[in-house]
Amino acid sequence: MKIVVCVNHVPDTATRVNISTNQKTIDSNGVTYVVNPYDEFAIEEALKTKEAVGGEVVAISLGNETNKETLRKVLAMGVDSAVLLKTEEAMDSLSVAKALAQEIKIQNTELVFMGKQSVDYDNAIMGQYVAAILDFNIVAAATNFNLSGNKIIAEREIEGGKETIETSIPAVITAQKGLNEPRYASLKGIMAAKKKVIEEKEIIISGNFVNVIEMKKPPQKAAGKIVGVDASAVPELVRLLKEEAKVI
């Protein structure tokens, strides 16, 4: 079976965000980019599924030239081939979803893995979008995945519990932490990745569905007060919470 995994190239979570002069994006100077953390779980699940049922794994990333760094890392983990959907323009989620869906169709696959969420815009909806466009089944934020024949049994955490889901391919599965332990790239994998080709396709966008008017820093909190240095400060803390903050 051919399996597709969609991977995003995002700022490291330790990044201290500065806003660029256009006031619409972050200033990428000095920012380290990494494979989106949730996508590592998606890649691992794709590779495990391939190991179980045979076939190949293709990674797709939409972005600019620098996304190739992420695709190289993904190839080093054991993904067979990679496609870069290349654009210099900022795109909203639904436009990205349409481009990804089109490529997934070209790849002629029935099983797609993605991360639960990109840690840049934190939307957590790409899998749902792509599934809706392609009319695939969707399991979002899966913590467990099992495929036998056409049948999928998956689990996910919901608010205050866990649900078990039965569905079938064609499907998009988005990966939550807990799904598996992502493997590291081996030295052999890194060497092999250098020889694999990244296919590049220019994409043209037809216009965005949402506009970012402005990006800004959140209001800074005023410095708080240290009420004390040991248990003797507890009565005062409780008084403040009751009388000043009025939260208990």
Partner: protein
């Protein structure tokens, strides 16, 4: 300009979610400003107190009903929700940004080919347009966003908008019995974490970090939480150590929370942790290192040993 608002009311186990009341209240305020019509839809089987929705300013709710809708199913719920939104020609749709909201809002956006902004923390009317505030980079920055399409969908971050009931008005409840339900995605089992409040829905959260040193020391965190009617949370270090479940993790790769009160115990305040909790209304930090970054976002702090302070705090609250 929006003429017809639709609020999606989410229920689990027949109970309406608090985050849906927040969406109803916000929706009714916006509809008033824009002079638009507003109604609500709910999908499920037996659902309690639907007419109470009237108290939040929405006086018509349609209940799409079938026994097979008792458990949530993304295929069944999306299909019915889309059909209803199209039938009434809704042009502004609000949902809570829950797992369910994030499942079905994108499906509707694809069908209506319209702009969707998720996880909004503010919606404001500017002239006739709605401008959403959407945090990005886990709250390290905010964006102001508008949609570009005649129809729009927004999902609202839970616990940010107030849900106060403003009247005793009763809504008109219209029950529509549904014949066939698409269960191509079928939830076959739901296991509830017994007696445990989820961090994403709690008004008060008590979180513990690596400084607590062992799983059993979370006993005092649980006791404090019980005393306050709070949920328990954790830093990633505590989750990675296996002391707490991942569902408790607060932060950039855990849950984003905005409770009224967040108490961080023996948590240093790494940037990824702060990202998930700094929009809490009040923050208390208890950490023996007075220079820990968590004090930079805390309203009140005690720079002392958690093993002394927490038991004392539990005792004080019992008084």
């Amino acid at each position: 300009m929006a003429n017809k608002f639709l609020i999606y009311v989410e229920q689990r186990d027949g109970n309406i979610k608090k985050s849906s009341f927040e969406a109803l209240k916000k929706g009714s305020e916006l509809a008033k400003l824009l002079n638009a019509k507003i109604e609500a839809v709910v999908i499920g089987n037996e659902i309690g107190n639907l007419e109470d929705i009237g108290g939040y300013g929405v006086n018509k709710v349609t209940h799409l009903k079938n026994a097979e809708l008792t458990n949530y199913s993304v295929s069944a719920y999306s299909e019915l929700f889309i059909k209803f939104a199209e039938e009434i020609n809704a042009d502004l749709i609000l949902l809570a940004n829950t797992l369910m909201g994030k499942d079905i809002a994108p499906a509707l956006a694809v069908k209506l080919n319209c702009g969707l902004v998720v996880d909004c923390t503010e919606l404001e009317v500017n002239n006739v347009n709605i401008i959403a505030t959407k945090p990005v980079y886990a709250g390290k920055a905010l964006t102001l966003v508008e949609t570009n399409t005649p129809k729009s969908i927004f999902t609202l971050r839970p616990n940010v908008f107030t849900a106060g009931k403003s009247s005793a008005m009763k809504a008109e409840v219209i029950v529509q019995n549904i014949d066939t339900v698409n269960l191509s995605n079928n939830v076959t089992k739901v296991v509830k974490t017994e007696g445990k409040l989820d961090v994403s829905e709690a008004d008060i959260i008590v979180s513990g970090g690596r400084g607590l040193k062992a799983a059993e020391n979370f006993g005092m965190i649980e006791e404090l939480a019980a005393q306050l009617g709070a949920a328990t949370g954790a830093s990633r270090a505590a989750v990675d150590a296996g002391w707490r479940p991942h569902s408790d993790q607060v932060g950039q790769t855990g849950k984003t929370v905005s409770p009224n009160l967040y108490i961080a115990v023996a948590i240093s305040g790494a940037i990824q942790h702060l990202a998930g909790m700094q929009s809490s209304k009040f923050i208390v930090a208890i950490n023996k290192d007075k220079d820990a970054p968590i004090f930079g976002v805390a309203d009140y702090g005690i720079a002392g040993d958690a093993f002394e302070v927490i038991p004392a705090l539990i005792e004080e609250l019992k008084k």
